[in-house]
Every structure is written in C-alpha cells, then in structure tokens.
C-alpha cells in the first residue's frame, strides 16, 4: 500500500553495506537496502520507527511543509554562516627567502640574498594591514608565511603592531599565527612571540630519518635536530597548547605513519594533521620521486586513523585534525571555517594571501601558480594600487566564486558527501585548465570521497567509545575533562 509521505531532497550512496542518505543541511541516516527500497516505493509504515527517524531527520514530510522548509532554511543558514563572516584568514608572505630547501616545497622558496625583491617591506605591510581591517569579519586571523617568515622579523613586528593599533578602533577578535620551521628562532623572537600571543604552526615530518630525507637546510643537511631542539624551547616558553605541527606525507613516510604518530606524541604535540603532498611548486617537478597515488594515501590515512583511535581509546587525547574538521561538518549543525574545502570555495571570501610586493591572491596555490608558471589568473589586485572594494568586489572574484559552488558542479551535484565538501577552483584550473575541473577522476575529489567513506564506516559502527573519541575531538577537549565538569554544575 502506498503511504502519503513525500520526499525532501537528499542524496544517497551505498556505504558500509547500507544506504547512506544525506540532505542539504548535513542530516544523515543509514538504511538497510530493503528499507531503502521500501522508502523509495513509499511503503514505509507511518507507525514504524524508521518512518519517524526519516521524518525527524528531514528526509520525508507528511504535513506542515512550510514549517519544515523554514526549519531547513534556518539550518542551512547556520551551515553556511562562513559566508556571512566573509574573509577572516589573511596570510602575509613576509619573504620568499627560506633557510631550508625542502624537496617538496609547495611555495617554491628561494635563497637569493636580494632582499629588496624578495621581502615584504614595511610600506607594503601597512597597506595590507589596512586592507585586512576593511573586512567585515568579526574574527581576523593574520598568518605569517614565507619562505621563512622569521627571516623578515622586523616586518612581522610592524604588522603585529600596526594591527593592534588599528584594532583599538575595529575591535575584532584578532589572532596571529606564524608558520615557521623554527630554525631561525632565538630568545628575542621567542619573547616577542610570547608577549604578543602569536600561535606557532611548524613542520615536523616524523622521526629523524623521515624528516631529514626531504626537509634539509641550504647546505643539504637534515634539519631535524635543529627543529626539535627549538620546538622544545618554544613549548617550554609558550606552553604546548600554543604550538602545533603540520606534516606532509611523503613517499618515504607513507608506510611509516605509525612512527610519525609516535614521534608527535613523544614530542608533546597535542594533535596531528596528515596532509597529502600536493603537486605544486617543487613537488610538481619531482612528482615521480616524491609522489604517490590517492589510493595509497587513503590506505595509509585509514591505517593511521585506526592507530590514532586506539591511542585515544587508551586515554590519550590526540586528535587527527583533518578528520576532526570533517567530523564537525558531519556531526554538528555548525559552519566550519576551513578555507580549502568550502562551497562556494573559500578563495578570497574566506582566506586571502598578500604577496611580498602587495599582490593579493585568492589562495596560496594561486600565488604559487603565478610564481611557478607566470600565470596571474588568480591575482585580484595589489594593496598599493587597489581599494578593498576593488579587490573583494571585483568581477574576477565573483567569477571565481560562482565557478566553485559544488551544489551546481557536475559530479558534486549528486554526490552523497556534497553537504560536507568543497571545491578548489585554483587547483582545477592548474590541473585541468578550467575552474570546474573533471570528476570523478579528479584526485582532489577522489581523495575526499575516500576519506568520507572511511569516516562514515566508523560512524556506521555505532560504537559508543568511538563516538566519545570523535566528539572529544570536535569539542576540543578530553572527554574525561568534560565529564568532570558535569559534576560541578
């Protein structure tokens, strides 16, 4: 007998031997194949718990449609809150010079001593800071990049000081992050970083033999000893919570991620971000030596995630940050601010990067495209010659953004993971020559789909311990700590 319910929009795919349904606001539900058939055939009984589950999760409706739509609209607005916030991440390339020469350098850094060309000067830095504070975003994160930003520390200081001065007026939640290999860190710099509450993001690829294989100084020696010594120094001065590290999975470490994880824990790093090597900068040229397939990466990621979960089960709080980001998207009703994976893309409207000469690029990849191939397609202006309105209201930026709504991109439009995913028009352009790109053979797409699958397979287990662990990552504190608070209410 046909039932009188109607469908609300959802996408679906077979995952973990069941059918996964996801709607536009990220509500999801697993159904056994037979129940899915019943659902589609309109044969689910209104008395059954499955019916109520599907109704509760806005997959079907039977009355009060306008209320249901209002509810979904509210949830949709909440999920897309990052659009209201507008550009909050502002990256400053303080210098293109670097004291390292990493084999896979995405930023194509150089060692030339010609500072005039390769460093940002104070006048440019001030112009960029003025642009930053034109953003309507309530929270502003200024991230120092390079090259190695500590090599141009005076300009870093002038950015910090001018920002603090302007913020007297604008009253933003202002944060600073410096992305540094730590090699040039000394006591004076550390003291400055500490007194201005600058967060440190560094790079550690793993134990010595892994790290040193690709991360070398200009004379060809591995930087592990130097980096870890300064990491310990910074940790003791700033506290462990104010420093995190990124790692890049290489052809060497891909089969040894367990050792990388152990190294991170031994070094007192509170989390890890397993990052796939991107075919950008020097890595692109040396892909044959350094690269690996998406399948290999996802296999290694899945194994590493399993190990990380085991570690958390044993009572050590240690999140994998990319998983945490995706879990936040899947399990919470909130918007998440990760500029590399948004729809529309975060390029320009979530994050922006100011090059040493004041050129404004929509993303780091956009800047690299200009330096490695001379293609300035994603440069949307210059801090010296363009106003905020001219840059952020430009036709070019609008065109880029409107090419990056995955809701309307072929392949993404019907993908079950769409509500949690995003687009990278710059990368598509770099790889395929246009901003839309091609799916499903697109590596960016394949990688994310496979990772979503890994995560949903965990969620399908309905394991309370795993839920506890995943939520402790999302909430950002150990569950035991969270529980202790309950008794004090």
């Amino acid at each position: 007998m046909s039932q009188s319910y109607r469908f609300l929009p959802f996408r679906f795919e077979r995952v973990a031997d069941r059918v996964l349904l996801v709607n536009d606001v990220g509500d999801f539900h697993f159904l056994p194949e037979s129940s899915f058939d019943a659902l589609i055939g309109r044969k689910i009984s209104p008395e059954s718990s499955e019916y109520l589950d599907l109704k509760s999760k806005n997959m079907i409706w039977d009355s009060h449609l306008s209320n249901v739509i209002d509810l979904l609209a509210t949830k949709y607005r909440t999920k897309k809150q990052f659009l209201y916030d507008f550009t909050s991440l502002h990256m400053f390339v303080l210098t293109r010079r670097c004291n390292q020469r990493c084999a896979y350098c995405h930023a194509s850094s150089v060692c030339v001593e010609d500072k005039d060309v390769l460093d940002m000067d104070v006048a440019t830095a001030r112009k960029c800071v003025e642009l930053v504070f034109m953003s309507p975003a309530k929270s502003i994160k200024i991230e120092f990049q390079g090259g190695e930003p500590l090599l141009n520390f005076n300009v870093l200081k002038s950015v910090v000081e001018y920002s603090l001065e302007l913020n007297e007026k604008y009253k933003k939640n202002l944060e600073f992050v410096v992305c540094t290999n730590l090699i040039a860190l000394d006591e004076d710099k550390l003291e400055y970083i500490k007194s201005n509450k600058i967060y440190i993001s560094t790079s550690l690829d793993g134990p010595e033999y892994i790290h040193d294989e690709f991360r070398k100084n200009r004379s060809g020696e591995g930087s592990y000893k130097n980096v870890t010594a300064n990491l310990a120094l910074a940790q003791s001065s700033l506290g462990h919570d104010n420093i995190s590290a990124l790692m890049t999975v290489t052809d060497l470490s891909i089969d040894h991620l367990d050792e990388v994880i152990d190294e991170y824990i031994a070094r007192g790093l509170g989390s890890i971000f397993l990052r796939m090597l991107n075919p950008l900068g020097y890595a692109s040229a040396e892909w044959n030596r350094l690269g690996y397939s998406v399948d290999d990466f996802v296999d290694a990621y899945a194994k590493a995630l399993d190990k990380i979960i085991q570690i958390n089960r044993s009572g050590v709080y240690f999140p994998e940050m990319f998983t945490t980001l995706l879990l936040s998207r899947i399990l919470t009703p909130f918007s998440t601010g990760f500029v590399d994976l948004q729809s529309p893309a975060g390029v320009g409207i979530g994050g922006v990067i100011y090059d040493t000469n004041g050129d404004v690029y929509v993303s780091d990849e956009a800047r690299m495209l200009a330096h490695s191939k001379g293609d300035k397609s994603f440069c949307v202006g210059n801090a010296h010659s363009h106003s905020w309105r001219e840059i952020f209201g430009s036709e070019r930026l609008r065109e880029i953004i409107s090419s990056s709504c995955i809701e309307a991109l072929p392949g993404c439009a019907w993908c079950v993971f769409q509500s949690y995913c995003g687009a990278d028009p710059v990368r598509n352009y770099a790889v395929y020559g246009d901003m839309v790109g091609k799916r499903p053979e697109n590596d960016f797409c394949r990688k994310h789909k496979a990772i979503f699958r890994v995560i949903f397979e965990y969620l399908a287990k309905d394991d309370e311990d795993i839920e506890d662990i995943f939520w402790s990552w999302i909430i950002g504190k150990p569950l035991a700590e969270n529980s202790a608070n309950a008794t004090q209410m």
Partner: protein, 377 residues
Amino acid sequence: MRTFTGVAVNFSYSLIGKIISGAVSPHATEPDSHIFIFNDPQSRSQRTGLLLNSSSPVFENCDSPVFKLLGENYVVEKGDVILLTPNEGGTVLYEKKSRSNAVLVTNRCNSHCITCPQPPQPDQEDLADFSSKIISLIDPDLEVLGITGGEPTLNWEGLLKVVSASRKFLPNTSIQLLTNARLLKDFVKAKELAELAEGNLFACVPLYGDVDSLHDEIVGVRGAFWETVEGLYNLARVGICVELRTVIMQSNYSRLEKWAEFVYRTFPFVDHVALMGLEPIGLAAENIDKVWIDPADYAKQLEKSVKSLHRRGMNVSIYNHQICTLPKSLWPFARKSISEWKNIYFQECEGCKMQSACGGFFHSAQAHRSQSISAFS
C-alpha cells in the same frame, strides 16, 4: 504552597505582607511573634501588623492588624511574603529560604498536556496584579523568580506587568519563565519580552518529541510542535536563554535518544537540556496507565540520551529522579529538583547513605514510584 490557620484581629480584608522581623517587636516579647509590613489599601500607606502564635496575648491597646495562629505554630521567617485572609487563614506566597519561588500570571492554558501536574482553570481575577504585589515585597537579593501558570503568555499584558514589576523591584533577580513558547511564534512578542527583561529572563520550554505527531499527541493540540519550534527559534533570535525540557513517559521514552540528537542538531543554542521524571499528580495521575513507565525500565535510553547530549558539549540535567533508579554514570547529572515543600522519602529509603544527594519524591509518589527504590548502605 504552605498554608496555615488563624484568627484575624483588627482587620476584615485580605492583606499581603512581608515578615520583617521576629521577636523584636516593641509590642510582643514572645519569640514566635513576627512583625509584617503591608500596603494598607485604605490609607494607601505602608503599615505594620503582627503574626502571633496561639499562646501569645494580644495587647489591648493595639489597633494594628494581628493574625493569631491556631493549633500548631507555623514558622515563618524574615523575608517571607504571606497572604492573610480573615475567614480562610494564611498562605505563604514567597518563602525566602526556598530555591523554587514562583508567581502565577494565569491558570489558563492553550495546551492540554497528558501529564500536566496543575491542570488549567479559568481565572477568577487578574493574577498579574496579585503577583506584582508579591514581587514588590520580596527582598531584592532573590536569585531566581519563577513565572508559571497555566501558560503565562496567554495573559500577555499580565506577563509584561509581572516582568516589569520584577525588573523594578528585583533588578538583580533572573526570571525563570515556564512556557510552551507557542505564542512566541510571534516574533514581535518574543522581542517585546526580551526588551523588557533586559537579559534577565530565561525560558523553560517543554518539547516532548522529535516529530510533530508524538509531541502533539502528548500536548493534546495538533500543530503545537511547530508553534513551539518557531517560538524556540524566536527566543534564540532575541537572545533569551532557553532550557529545553522533556518529561519521560510511556509514549516517548523509546525515542529519547533520537530526541536528544534532534535537539542538538535543531536547537544547538539551548543553554540547558532537562530530562524530567513524571510527577504523578493532576492529569498525569488521571492518565497514569497511559503515561507511567518505571524509571528502571528506561534507564538505558536515559543513559544514552544524556551521554549523547553531554559528549556534544550541551549542559544536561536529570530532574525528579531518585538516585537509586539511575545508573551510576548518570549520578553527576541528577539534580535535587523537587520543590522543598513537595519533597518526601519513603520507608524503602530508611538508612540510605545517599539521601542527602538525592532529590527524593513528590508527595504524589505515594501511589506511583519505581519498583527499584532501595537504600544505599
């Protein structure tokens, strides 16, 4: 509310007074006598009166109102607000030492909840004026003042009057409004309330199910679910804090975990989630066969729901449950929520080591309580 009996001397009208002292009256030397102040409706001024215990003599030359208690002495304390009615006796309207004082705005309601402990009635008079008078006498160090009913929003002007009175006389007190929020689907009303309350009001709103059919069945009104949902969103928009509540009963316990997840995904802004045990009185007592479920029989669902909300970072509490009916993991969430004057313990509880941590029972639990009540030794 507590009541007492006595004889009115020197007055023939009802009066509301506040106890301002005991045993320091120039007229009375007895320790059980209290002075109260009240606004005299005839002279329109503040006057004092005396509350005397049965053995105290009344001074002959005294023309102030005196209320002489009959039978057992009733102890009131400084700060309490009382109602004295010549032919009916006295009522304590506000008890200073209690943590659950509330005033009424109306006895009427637009819902007909199957578990309502205080079934709605028509109003004989405007309760808002009466409640405003009580508020004007309460000491301003009160932490929380409840506004309840009935459904307070049904007497909208009255509700605003009571909130204004609270803001005027109790500027540091937070107002706890018990409402089904259905009429707050009107954004203008929600905004008016928020502006008047200036951040000092929080709403306790019941939502009994994660789907409309389940909730509507329990509250007895089709469409109520969606009105409450709209009301909740409006409360969030105007910045009024919300405690979302459910009462666990036969028809909704099996979906409690789904409800918890629905609440988190739909109303992540709520400040507090309360899962409440049934109070077997009023309509709940009448419908007991349809609504009663032993807490021991839903312990698993309750545990999963509370854990689910807790791990999501929500503040969650369990009200009206005895500790021995809860798995140990839930003890940190159990609050002693039963009003002092309603709370009792039973024979099964004798010698229980956990009694001081336990909320105990409603008086009405004499007829219905969990089979698993037992003392901790």
